[in-house]
Symmetry: C3
Subunit: 629 residues, 3 copies
């Protein structure tokens, strides 16, 4: 499929006389898609029941007439002020019991039926009007679920919904008490209506209680999204999309994706480096203007797994953003690099956020392709360069990767609820593994835990997978698999299973003890590398593949299946990959260089601030090069 570029645009922010010129200029830059409408509710329905679609009709006509394909957003992330008069209890409530009020965005609780229905009704109304419009080529539902910590709400609506959810799931308080082990500390319930949300407790609530709430909260997002999807599908057959974020883990994206056609995400490499990655100040300084070399690729690979390979970048950072602790400008070339990286990972569309920097309100310091005074910002030329390169490029087909990594949202919730060590974080563990694979030049597929076929891969990793589902367990024999650390050690209810884990087929090993470790207490491994953060004691007669300096087994197994009993540092990850990746071509890449193979090409992306040489080619900082395969 031919890749294409797009941009996010807010006609309601600009005088109507600018629209046609903007549209023409978008086309001349080489953009062919435009997303609009997702925050415009107050202009579409200024007063309750008083609709004004005329301006949107004209905006779509102007953009579409210029040759652009429109992605139309449903505006439910920004209910107008009057909606609160209708539903005073629609606001989310934070964990300390304070309402999260009007004045920015995402001011709603996913459990409020009234607002959910009102949002779906608005979606239906839009689809009725634009569902068959020839210029409207796709739909975005809502905007960035979970952004600003908006999945977990402690409102009265959430409490009621949680009780119903529990009653549905457990059928009787006794069943729930048994499932959660509520005999502990006399936490037993005799009525579902006695069960509160797990906030404000004296000390940690029952982890099973918390995990149930996390599952419930994720389900509420799924249901919320499904309501709009159903409303839209009645009137349109264009693809439905949501734009996810980076490192938002509070809802199961795989589950939301089931009601959608295409996954998309909002890629802000420099913002994410600043505000949501564990790294030393020196590391962050090195990648200050480029972003982390693996963060974008990780999410590309993750979201590619959602809808059978169909995915977009809905928002691509084109310059400095406004919301991170520090907001430097991208190194010249990075906007082009990020764009090509997305295509190399299979994106159909990369859409920049936003066309023109708005001179007002919360995002006035967020760069666009154009400056507030309409002069071109540096991103424009880089977007245009990609557009030209795309014209000359054969299509970028996705190739299956040789390696797969299992990613599982419920595992993230489980370890968040019961970390057992201040530094144990599921994303961090997975991302360390992903980074280790990528440093060796590997392309990676990310798979959900529901996977049942691993036969396409030469190596599959599943660190931190809380509970191993039966189909995946059955598939383990198909290839070389590495589970652990902390894999298959809990039940679905977040308790300890019998027999104790990892309980893997043919692998006689039991985790008899787990330890969390503070910084500065890494444990050496015989032959090099060390264990950080987390270490397990293994028992049983499984064959030892790696051992600790004190002789204890660290990695056990042979042939197909191995279990790893600690969190590796970078050197140890390298050794693990060397041991398990005998069938793989492993590279030794310069610092900051990353590869990605498509069906036809090998791409190299230089995230480092310096020129590097690889494969006989000198690659400048922020440059991307490719070779036919």
């Amino acid at each position: 499929m031919k890749r294409a570029l797009g941009v996010c645009y807010y006609p309601e922010h600009w005088p109507e006389e600018m629209w046609a010129r903007d549209a023409a200029e978008m086309v001349s830059v080489g953009l062919s898609w435009v997303r609009i409408g997702e925050f415009a509710w107050s202009r579409l329905e200024p007063d309750p029941g008083q609709f004004d679609f005329d301006w949107l009709d004209r905006a779509i006509e102007t953009l579409g007439g210029a040759g652009l394909r429109v992605i139309l957003g449903t505006p439910s992330a920004t209910p107008p002020r009057w909606m609160l008069d209708r539903f005073p209890d629609m606001l989310a409530v934070d964990a300390t019991g304070h309402p999260r009020t009007f004045g920015s965005r995402r001011h709603y609780c996913h459990s409020h039926d009234g607002y959910r229905d009102a949002a779906a009704a608005m979606a239906a109304r839009l689809a009725e009007r634009y569902g068959k419009n020839p210029h409207v080529a796709a739909w975005q539902i809502d905007n960035e679920y979970g952004c600003h910590d908006t999945v977990l709400s402690y409102s009265a609506a959430a409490k009621d919904a949680f009780r119903n959810w529990l009653a549905q799931k457990y059928q009787s308080p006794d069943a729930l008490n048994r499932a959660w082990g509520n005999v502990f500390w006399s936490m037993e319930y005799s009525d579902f209506n006695d069960i509160d949300l797990p906030n404000l407790t004296v000390t940690q609530p029952n982890p099973s209680h918390e995990l149930a709430f996390r599952r419930f909260a994720s389900d509420q997002v799924v249901q919320w999204n499904a309501a709009q999807a159903a409303a839209l599908r009645k009137h349109t057959d264009k693809p439905l999309i949501h734009n996810y974020m980076g490192r938002v883990l509070e809802f199961d994206h795989f589950a939301v994706a089931r009601d959608l056609d295409i996954a998309s995400w909002d890629s802000y490499p420099i913002g994410f480096l600043s505000d949501r990655l564990e790294a030393s100040p020196e590391y962050k300084a090195r990648y200050l203007r480029q972003g982390d070399p693996d963060m974008q690729a990780f999410h590309h690979d993750l979201y590619r797994a959602m809808n059978a390979g169909r995915w977009w970048v809905m928002e691509q950072q084109p310059g400095p953003v406004n919301w991170a602790p520090y907001n430097p400008a991208p190194l010249p070339g990075m906007v082009r690099l990020w764009t090509w990286e997305a295509f190399a990972h299979g994106a159909e569309i990369v859409s920049y956020f936003r066309w023109r920097q708005a001179p007002f309100a919360q995002e006035q310091m967020h760069a666009g392709l154009k400056r507030p005074d309409d002069a071109p910002a540096p991103g424009t030329a880089e977007a245009a360069a990609v557009a030209a390169e795309l014209r000359d490029m054969p299509d970028v087909g996705i190739a299956a990767a040789p390696v797969a990594l299992i990613f599982d949202y419920p595992s993230s919730w489980a370890w968040n609820v019961l970390p057992q060590g201040a530094d144990f974080d599921y994303f961090r563990l997975i991302f360390d593994a992903y980074r280790a694979l990528r440093r060796r030049g590997l392309s990676v597929d990310i798979l959900p835990a529901e996977t049942s076929d691993l036969s396409a891969y030469k190596l599959v990793l599943a660190p931190g997978l809380g509970t191993l589902p039966d189909p995946l367990r059955a598939a383990i024999g198909q290839t070389t698999c590495l589970l652990g650390p902390r894999a298959n050690l809990i039940t679905d209810e977040l308790s300890i299973p019998m027999p104790m884990g990892p309980n893997l087929p043919g692998l006689k090993t039991t985790v008899s003890c787990v330890e969390s470790l503070p910084p500065g207490t890494a444990r050496p491994v015989t032959g090099g590398g060390a264990v950080l953060h987390w270490h397990e004691t293994l028992e049983g007669d499984a064959e030892t593949a790696l051992e600790m300096a004190d002789g204890a087994p660290l990695m056990v197994g042979k042939d197909g299946l191995h279990y790893l009993a600690g969190w590796p540092d970078a050197a140890l990850w390298d050794r693990v990959i060397d041991l398990l990746g005998l069938d793989l071509t492993l590279e030794d890449l310069p610092d900051g260089l990353r590869l990605r193979d498509t069906a036809t090409h090998r791409f190299a992306f230089n995230y480092s601030p310096d020129t590097v040489t690889w494969n006989g080619t000198s690659i400048a900082a922020a440059d991307v090069v490719w070779w036919p395969l």
Copy 2:
């Protein structure tokens, strides 16, 4: 008295068919005591007024029949969910005004009369049934007062009770205004009912107001405990015990102890090192798997002072815990070491927490002597080793220590309310002094400020003692005493006394100025060592024993009585002890080694991760050795 081992057990967590086997195995390991019942209210009274004691009858019979002596807990730390229907206002409220809700434990306010009476009634009911039961050899009231910051509550019940407490104490608002100096900032009251709890004020409330609240809150715990003690004593003459925690200072344990027969505490060496000690990361890394070498001993010595020497370890960490920021496993040998250390300090019983790791709920990651799958965890063998050693050992009698340290809960409250420097903490100061004594090989007795006889000691230290009580003042002449820093500088109401302190008999010195010091500004002392955190200026013609590098007096006095005008670093503590401990045998111990003399033996405990040599003996890491005296 013959020392013995015990364990905490939860029959309600396990199928009844396991009980007998568990009991037999406990006996075979060498345990002779078992604590049960303290969290079982929801099983003893599943619905209000519907009691079910049958299972407890059987559990006691099974355990007792196997030869175990039962400690029965009153279950008031975990009121069942239905209790909240009865007393919706029984919850504690935090300092920001939020209720601390159901869902874990200790969800009650000590000032709520209704729940206090309900808890006492439950205790009475248990005592009626089991008070004369031959297997029930002791009682535990409630569980870990103060754990999870549960002493200070800002509920309506607490406010009412506080007003009554104030009215009782001061009799008239005018007396209170004068005692607190409320003329300052127009804080005067004309009615006790106008006085709020000291939270949510614009800036710091009157320290006298805060200290009164701290005293009140401590009294509420005392009264709470006394209610159950009275209820129990009506029906039993077995000893009454409470299990205190480590470094919980919000209530006066000496006062609670007056209603009890035996003190006990819950000793979690590795958890405490991780979550409640000031130390560098390097120090914590060194003692990661052993715990701090002085923390356990300190609490042993502290709690030994509560009930005429009768004290137990009710809960002993047997492996990794679940609640500290980092939870490594004990170094092999440490469970034995901790147990012997308790006995060397005079414990009658050391009881491990818990028998079998529960596979569910909050503490599912807390190790027991046995694993969740019933296999023995490493702690079992160490407990059995101690049991065997105990059998071969003559009884471990307590000897009076040559040195005493005064410990005073109200001083801790006073300095917490009015620290005058971010790093001034009473426990930290006391613990520094204790550590300094122990590094020199000394055994230490801890005494309350109410002490009136010091004649048994060669040296008595009272750093940070806010107000010197008259009986202690009278006893000062009996031996060598060191007061200060910050000793006898305040009145009972937390104001500055006239004449200004320390105002000691025969010692002409006045603290004319105090200073708090940030890290990195240590002040050198002539001859070595430095003053940290806190420094006082002395005036008067007392003889100077130590002086600052600038010539100012630091330690003054002679013969019996000295005053120390700064917070010493380790080197300075050594010099102070050298100067004052002329009659003492001072050792120079290897790093991490500690001694303790009983009536018959000298024990040495190696907390360091390395083998050390002392007294001609090589002592392995985590080993304990003893010699007859």
Copy 3:
């Protein structure tokens, strides 16, 4: 004008028999002013409507009779407890919605009309009684506006007042929507009563909304102060004063000053170093007992700008304070140094806080000139020394400084609301510039942004000035001016202006991009120095005066007007001053030495802990020397 010394005194804290002796001793020390009464409401009106002025009559008579001139405070910062019965809703509310309750001071919301009127009525009553009293020579209104974060209140009273304020300012919701850009995220309002205070929003509220709230909150303080000023002026023609604090920026002091006659402030050099300055621990250790060498001078110069040069130090730290994280004692000599420094900067009066240390309540650890036991504290001798020196000194006249620095409270609010980088703080930027000038030996005048005449200065700096007012813009040509970084880049409503800034007359430069930088990522400048925290990209053909190592323009302009596109480190500031200060005499001062020129003398203040030599003179630590000019 002859400079004089004073002291703060609380007759209500001491037995009446001490008053006369205290007064006599004040005079003998050389004090001639005494401030009283500002916290005494509960003694002036013990019960509602029951007044007791007799004691105050006697106190004034005693003090005045001894020869002291009295500054009488209105007691509105400490409403008595009964005021809350009258106005239960008078309390301020914090940003999380919690009331800020009785029990300390400043427990009122500036928007509460009822309490504002009650406070004004009390002021009127005092003025009626003492307005013509010959001993009462000046009035202080309230105390330390903004102390303890008391400008921003989220009470119901504030919400109502804010809505009215908005309606007055914008006249229609549509106008407000347009001014704020509320079309963004559908934040449009149709009724002023729908607009909430900008707290508890899901993510950042509209910066224009926040800035409006900040302006409103400042106006409320102005109005509050004006109410008492008006009440007092009806009955007295003595000067009206308020005592401001250090680095309190939440209200516009220039606006408050318009209703007053003399500015004053409370100078706590050591407390401020500890609790409100960005500096390394090493720097803070160096100045631990002296305070920052520029902090006092900065505020002297700032407050001198408020009332045509008339300003006082109302409270001068005389020893250790009680409220900073660390509270060391001043180096001997510093009390004298601070006092002389104030005089050198033009203070009419320096008044120490307080006469005698109170032995009770919140400030019992705050030193006075006298100890609680009435012995003299070290400050007394230093005050007496200054008094003696003053007698021998010709009057200290203020000379105009050669350099001016623009200081603008609304700019501080704007950048606080929209920092765009975690380390961007207006005061910090201004203070860096001020420090850079002072390191070169320059005396500095601080000017408000409303300034329209710069002709007296050889150099004027305006870093961080959000919006350049027209009169100042017109004055720019009068001398050498440096704007930037971040100057004239926003509109009054906190949006981006068209054309984009800095848009300066005759300077063809536009900021096309801004970047915020984390620590450790300083950007080098050709020729030396570096840019920290903040960096702008300039576009246009203005002449380059300084450039980045990568060739980008950093400072542009020539002759009169320059723009600086980055936040300089100390070395770069030096270069900027060298480049622009050709007409100035620039010194190279020893570390910690500062100069100040009066009309007749050059003063040198040694803040360093070591003796320094300058101008051929050896100056001891904490010493001050002067030479006739």
